[in-house]
């Protein structure tokens, strides 16, 4: 048992940190750290810089641009990305659709999609949830009816993040209505420029427009865009959702948030002393730091065990990463809100919207403006990707054997 990072691991971390800070524009990293919306161009730019160094898809097989890292290296990479405010390589490309194609796709599909996916030459989005299929994903109703060498897709997807930027979408569609639930679903790739697709933005309570509804009306999709076997798309979905345990806790992200909170709270005055000197506040911050350190160690334990368990059976502890990770992320947004105090009240319209047509609050209070929207917006992290209630159901069944 050796519970410290090795010299090699620390060097690996330093190398990445230096690169991120030197090569990814500070303007982009600052926006991430201040929890402000990024423009598409900024995300593409950052992604391509990483890709240029082979840092966009390190977890992929070497043949497709992977780096053959250990799980620990993969974790260090993810933590450093998050800690330094580097936007994650587009997860729909590199963590969701890519791995599915690598695991289930044909050589033709791999050649056609993976390189452009890794380079973010194609922007992918996810067509899973539907108005009637949220926690109960298998209840989805969007149909893909085989007609010769095409599927004809009809239905509606929702909560589709950045669909407005995407030129491709990977969808779960019902190809066999007679089969029940999980059976009869297929994993299909659809070009967003195909006629019959309509994207409608959904404004979230923080004022942002990151999610959308996507409507499919008689959309013709070539059969070769089917991934894996027809009717067996649920296998792909399960594989996709079970993937990527090293980033889900978002430890690096929360570390950066806590540090920023402490910096701001050391400047904001509460009465005659900085807020950070207030016993109650600093103890709340310390309590989050403790939870976060525990989560980090839990994450380490999971990774260290994954090293040998090649059967890819995850450590039971891995199942708590999402729950604790989301709770801690939300706790940091609540702390930032407390730091902002009365200065959190002004609503600062994002670059992309001015519907109130009103003035902006003072520029030098800009740091406080994202505090409340961040708090509101981050309620999502305990909802998406399987709500924390669903996560608890899973643990009760899989780990505790209820």
């Amino acid at each position: 048992m050796d519970l410290r990072f090795s010299k090699e691991e620390n060097a690996f971390r330093q190398k990445l940190r230096d690169f991120f800070r030197a090569e990814i524009p500070a303007s982009i990293r600052t926006k991430v750290m201040e929890n402000r919306h990024l423009q598409k161009e900024e995300l593409v730019k950052s992604h391509k810089i990483l890709h240029g160094k082979g840092l966009a898809v390190p977890h992929w097989p070497a043949a497709w641009g992977g780096a053959n890292w250990t799980p620990m290296q993969q974790y260090i990479y993810t933590e450093e990305l998050q800690y330094n405010g580097v936007p994650q390589p587009l997860p729909f490309n590199v963590s969701m659709c890519g791995p599915v194609i690598i695991a289930f796709g044909t050589d033709e599909q791999k050649r056609r999609f993976l390189p452009r996916m890794a380079a973010l030459d194609d922007w992918w989005c996810q067509g899973f949830s539907e108005p009637g299929a949220g926690s109960d994903l298998a209840g989805l109703k969007t149909t893909a009816v085989r007609q010769g060498d095409h599927y004809v897709v009809n239905g509606q997807k929702t909560w589709t993040t950045s669909a407005q930027y995407a030129n491709w979408i990977f969808c779960l569609c019902r190809t066999d209505p007679s089969a029940k639930k999980q059976l009869g679903i297929s994993f299909i790739l659809i070009d967003m420029n195909t006629p019959g697709i309509t994207v409608r933005p959904i404004q979230t309570i923080d004022g942002g427009r990151e999610v959308n509804e996507v409507f499919f009306d008689e959309v013709k999709v070539p059969v070769e865009n089917l991934v894996g076997q027809e009717h067996r798309g649920w296998d792909c979905a399960k594989f996709l959702l079970g993937n990527e345990r090293s980033g889900i806790a978002r430890v690096g992200y929360s570390k950066q948030r806590v540090q920023r909170i402490k910096e701001l709270a050391s400047q904001v005055m509460a009465g005659d002393r900085p807020l950070l000197q207030d016993e109650r506040f600093r103890e709340k911050v310390a309590a989050v730091e403790v939870e976060l350190k525990a989560l980090e160690m839990t994450q380490m334990r999971v990774l260290s065990e994954e090293r040998h368990s090649r059967d890819n059976k995850p450590n039971p502890a891995s199942s708590i990463l999402k729950i604790k990770g989301s709770e801690i992320q939300q706790a940091t947004t609540a702390l930032l809100l407390e730091v902002a105090g009365p200065l959190a009240l002004p609503y600062r319209a994002d670059e992309d919207e001015h519907e109130f047509g009103a003035n902006e609050p003072a520029e030098d209070l800009a740091w406080a403006a994202p505090a409340a929207p961040g708090y509101f917006n981050y309620r999502k992290v305990s909802i998406y990707g399987g709500s924390n209630e669903i996560q608890r159901n899973i643990i009760a069944k899989a780990v505790l054997g209820f």
């Binding site: 959904i202 109650r280 002004p346 003035n359 003072a362 929207p373 509101f376």
Partner: protein, 382 residues
């Protein structure tokens, strides 16, 4: 003890509920009001005037209805249920409170009638960006001109209803250091007076607020609402009454959000059953109910104590209420969104708007932890 409404109070409640069901029943009506020039519906303001809502707290001799905090609580709770955006809080509760407690007979006689008639809106400009929740912290200066008047210099921020108000009540320091308890006066001035600049913007919960600049603004002797010797005392009284009103508004919003959530749990189907059939979600809804009822009890308590003359006893009771309201609102708001899932995160659905309003009420005049700290410093409740 008696928690029942008398007949007049019951009639008041029913008439407000009727009006708001008609004018706020559909979320899109509210979203429409937000886009108006002032960020609210002027014609509704007139209807409030006709209903007599604007005159509730003012003495009859000044042209008010001479009613009390209980009636204010009834209005505030109804406004919370409907998420009303008209500047009742800024004009009647805050500014009206300042007028009443400063006890300047001349200004009361001059301002209350038009206010009650819906012809005059006001805003209380006390917040400064360095002050956080310290009411005494005032950097804005009031320099005596030797003829009973003052010249104001400084900056105020997030002034509720500040841009649409006809007149402003401004706190400014005539003497002492920035955080001294003495030396702060309340001054009345025309919002368009020379030297007054206003930056208008929406707030997180759909209201409007303004940052206000004061540069060599002249106030005559008639504009001195409360002199430097008693300004803070008046302000603290006003804020305690305002917190009682916010508590009632918060309870109204919480109760409505809880009902909305329970309805959703009963109708939303997943896995072939209403999600309300899952015991975990039922118990969450029960804990929300408990939080709402505990908050309601403390809103009553705040209403009962906000009129207390003993400032220490009043402050402790109001702080205790703010603690309970804030904690209940935090739990009810976050849980409601969680139980709704994605739909609760959208602007098109009412839950998120309740959540945002509840969050901002918690932060108004100090959040739950701030008041817990103050309460504990004062020795607690018993």
């Amino acid at each position: 003890m008696d928690f029942d409404l008398n007949d007049e109070q019951r009639q008041l409640k029913e008439s407000i509920d009727r009006l708001l069901l008609d004018r706020y029943g559909d979320l899109n009506q509210r979203l429409g009001y937000l886009k108006r020039p002032n960020g609210y519906a002027d014609e509704l303001w007139q209807q409030y005037a006709e209903l007599g809502l604007l005159g509730i707290p003012f003495a009859e001799e000044h042209g008010g209805l001479g009613q009390g905090l209980t009636e204010t609580m009834i209005v505030a709770e109804a406004f919370g249920r409907a998420l009303v955006v008209e500047p009742y809080f800024a004009t009647v509760i805050l500014s009206g409170g300042a007028l009443r407690h400063a006890g300047n007979a001349a200004l009361l006689a001059e301002l209350v009638p038009p206010l009650v008639a819906g012809k005059l809106t006001l805003a209380l400009a006390h917040q400064e960006r360095q002050a956080r929740y310290d009411l005494a912290d005032t950097a804005t200066t009031a320099r005596a001109d030797g003829r009973g008047g003052y010249t104001l210099e400084g900056e105020k921020c997030v002034v509720l209803g500040g841009a649409s108000a006809d007149q402003l009540i401004v706190t400014a320091r005539a003497s002492g250091a920035r955080r001294d308890r003495s030396g702060v006066g309340l001054f009345l001035l025309d919002a368009k007076a020379n030297g007054v600049t206003r930056r208008d913007y929406p707030t997180q919960d759909g209201f409007r607020a303004a940052d206000i600049g004061l540069s060599a603004v002249r106030v005559g002797p008639e504009g001195v609402l409360a002199g430097p010797e008693k300004g803070l005392e008046v302000l603290e009284r006003v804020v305690d009454e305002a917190i009682a009103a916010l508590a009632a508004e918060s309870v109204g919003a919480m109760a409505a959000l809880h009902e909305l959530t329970v309805d959703y749990l009963k109708t939303r189907k997943q896995f072939g059953v209403p999600i309300g059939s899952f015991q975990v979600l039922q118990h969450k809804a029960v804990d929300m109910f408990t939080a709402v009822e505990q908050a309601r009890s403390m809103a009553y308590y705040a209403t009962m104590m906000a009129g207390e003359d003993d400032a220490g006893e009043r402050r402790r009771a109001v702080a205790a209420a703010k603690v309970q309201i804030g904690r209940s609102a935090r739990f009810v708001g976050e849980t409601a969104i969680q139980l709704h899932g994605g739909i609760g995160m959208t602007m098109e659905y009412k839950a998120g708007h309740y959540f945002k309003r509840l969050t901002m009420i918690d932060m108004a005049f100090g959040d739950a932890d701030h008041h817990l700290r103050e309460l504990a410093r004062a020795g607690g409740l018993s």
